[in-house]
Symmetry: C2
Amino acid sequence: MKNNVKIMRLKMSMTQEQLAKRVGVTRQTIGLIEKGEYNPSLQLCVAIAKELNKTLDDLFWEENLI
Amino acid sequence: MKNNVKIMRLKMSMTQEQLAKRVGVTRQTIGLIEKGEYNPSLQLCVAIAKELNKTLDDLFWEENLI
DNA sequence: GTTTTATGTAATTTATATCTTACATATGTA
DNA sequence: TACATATGTAAGATATAAATTACATAAAAC
């Protein structure tokens, strides 16, 4: 599951650990999602999107991938 | 996780079973997602969106809920 | 009035997302 | 050099999404 989480997190000058704490998961989970090795739950995707001031489509919709 | 899956599925004149088969899950899984009792995986959300000719935001983003 | 069709729901099982703990590396900095 | 920060990764445990099987109901079709 390729996505735009990493690039958008960096744009917000946020570390993996900061984002993880804000959405209630571990740093490792964020790392694996950014690598595309996880298939995260919808709730987690929504939480990440809100923290990064983006929508689901911005982060996870194929046509929007950077 | 409230969403617009049921209303969009009905607009496509599709049954739960038809949608389930097309996205590779069981009828029960679709039923529970429509009821908001499941927290589906991102991959499944994307598959459902594509079958219904919608995007993730159309189906699952809070501000778009009908 | 019995036979499909579509849906709701519940119990048990299976697969996998996520946690926990831990160690490694690369970079910056005192 | 030594220390702190940010990230990668791996093994084992836990939580939960999803499958499987099964039974129930309502409505339409015949």
